[in-house]
């Protein structure tokens, strides 16, 4: 399997405090990789390194390599705007921009490409269809993105993320703010999306990781204790800590 993303000896620091220790994680292309672990284990941090969003904050720094198609994106010469177009991110809570549904999806397109109105419209429709949202919003493209329900907002954010044709999608507990029905829709969507994108999802919900992911990485105290296929991790983990975590013995 080709590797899309690969962390090599990745370390991360908040100020002087190290929170990720020598992480090595290969992420296969067009698969869903779930990142699980107890609170504060560094799983969200790991995700935030992947599109360098951590650079918004002072005192946070990453060391080591993070290869995207073999290129270390942590190097300063890699353009961060370009990287973020390539690596979309979905957050815990839906974050629709304060604009219409259409503009929400068109925004990243306008930002990164020079497209005609027609092309823009087509790509927006395509993205909304890709996020299984088109049928629900096609009659209200002009209404505010904030007027949608929570689950729809989250799918809108997914549409926004995929509109710019990224290669990797990072999802940070994408369903933790949603009700069960919306959650299952998002989960189905994710499985659909992996046909086109490489997905990394951080989740608290072990059942979710089990249901949707192909590979699972277990973080504990900033270290990747175990990673492998989800089936392996959930039926026969190699590490005792992993076993304890997924069987609910701790955390």
């Amino acid at each position: 399997m080709p590797l899309k993303l690969e962390a090599k000896n990745l370390n991360f620091f908040y100020g002087n405090e190290q929170v990720l220790f020598n992480n090595n994680l290969p992420v296969e292309e067009k698969k869903i990789t779930a990142v699980i672990g107890p609170s504060g284990c560094g799983k969200s941090t790991f995700l935030r390194v992947c599109n360098r969003i951590f650079e918004l904050y002072r005192n946070q720094r990453a060391e080591g390599e993070l290869l995207l198609d073999g290129v270390n994106v942590l190097l300063p010469e890699v353009d961060v705007l370009e990287l973020r177009r390539n690596v979309g991110m979905i957050f815990q809570k839906p974050t629709p921009f304060p604009m219409s549904v259409f503009d929400n999806v068109a925004y990243p397109l306008k930002l990164h490409f020079k497209l005609s109105r027609r092309e823009t419209f087509d790509r927006v429709e395509q993205a909304l269809r890709g996020a299984s949202l088109w049928d629900e919003v096609k009659d209200k493209l002009k209404t505010s993105g904030l007027a949608l329900s929570g689950g729809q907002q989250q799918r809108l954010c997914i549409a926004r993320a995929i509109a710019a044709e990224p290669e990797v999608l990072l999802m940070d507990e994408p369903t933790s703010a949603l009700d069960p029905l919306a959650t299952s829709k998002i989960e189905e969507l994710m499985v659909e999306l992996k046909k086109r994108f490489t997905i990394m999802v951080v989740t608290h919900n072990m059942q979710q990781a089990a249901r949707i992911s192909d590979a699972t990485a277990f973080f504990y105290k900033g270290v990747i204790v175990e990673h492998g296929t989800t089936t392996k991790i959930f039926t026969n983990p190699a590490n005792r800590k992993t076993e304890e975590y997924i069987t609910g013995r701790f955390g």
Binding site: L81, H112, F113, K114
Partner: protein, 285 residues
């Protein structure tokens, strides 16, 4: 194509960041200029006597601000005493008793309008309401005017603060068998305690510098504020106005700067003190 676009986007970004830095510098220098001037000009007037002696008409020696300071304190505290209890109850009304949403919405709107009421109009109002019927200016009228300014501020702060208390807390309190009154006073207000005190003190700091309404109510007198209920009462803001505009004399101007420094320091101390003691979410008004 994309590269070119990227270049222009980044350029615009750099220009914007430069402009915003400039704005901050400009704003802060303007502020610094004012504050340093007040300090420089005011500090010349300061002496022990300046704080201990009452103000005297021009030409008399040993003029000070003691009477105005005392008068200001009396007027402001009077305003606080008049305004705070009913204002808090009014805030409770807005936040806790929502079974008549139309009435509370109307009251909330009134409070908002009152908050933006030009203070000079408050002066006019109290003038016709108290000064004209009673026949004389008085410190009490000044207190009433300031109280009217404080009332909506405290009322709205109270409402905002109580609104921040999660609704579940009220239900939790009622669910262990407390009465409504008990819940409101002992649990909800107590939760919002810090915010309430902060709001009251900040409102107090704000009205303590108000000048316009006092021009029509408390006026000024070169005497100790013994006529709080029945006559013109000295106070700082009007003293500053009198000394700086209505007087051509440099000595009076200097005393005016001194008074300005004193009141600025007092207001800011109250402000800073409140914020430090009850460090919580800031509120713009």
């Amino acid at each position: 194509m994309q590269k070119k676009k990227l270049f222009w986007r980044k350029l615009a970004n750099h220009i914007f960041r430069f402009f915003s830095l400039l704005a901050v510098l400009l704003a802060t220098t303007a502020m610094l200029v004012i504050v340093t001037h007040v300090i420089r000009a005011g500090s010349k007037a300061l002496s022990l006597n300046f704080f201990l002696n009452p103000s005297k008409p021009y030409g008399m020696p040993d003029s000070g601000i003691a009477n105005a300071l005392l008068g200001s304190i009396m007027i402001t505290l009077g305003a606080a005493l008049l305004a705070t209890p009913p204002a808090i109850c009014a805030g409770i009304c807005l936040s806790e008793f929502r079974d008549r949403p139309k009435i509370t919405a109307a009251l909330r709107f009134s409070a908002n309008v009152m908050m933006g009421m030009p203070s000079v109009l408050v002066g006019l109002f109290v003038y016709t309401l108290i000064v004209v019927p009673s026949g004389h200016f008085s410190g009490l009228a000044g207190s009433v005017a300031l109280a009217i300014i404080m009332f909506p501020v405290v009322m709205r702060t109270t409402e905002d603060m109580l609104d921040m208390v999660p609704y579940a807390l009220r239900e939790a309190s009622l669910a262990i068998g407390m009465t409504r009154t008990h819940t409101t006073l002992r649990i909800v207000c107590r939760s919002a305690r810090k915010g309430l005190i902060t709001g009251i003190l900040l409102a107090l700091a704000r009205v303590s510098g108000e000048t316009a309404p006092l021009l029509f109510t408390a006026l000024f007198a070169d005497s100790w504020p013994k006529d709080y209920f029945s006559g013109p009462t000295p106070n700082m803001p009007v003293l500053i106005t009198e000394y700086s505009t209505n007087s051509p004399f440099a000595a009076m101007h200097q005393a005016g700067w001194g008074a300005a420094l004193v009141i600025t320091v007092l207001v800011l101390t109250l402000n800073i003190g409140t914020r430090i003691m009850f460090r919580e979410k800031r509120h713009a008004t």
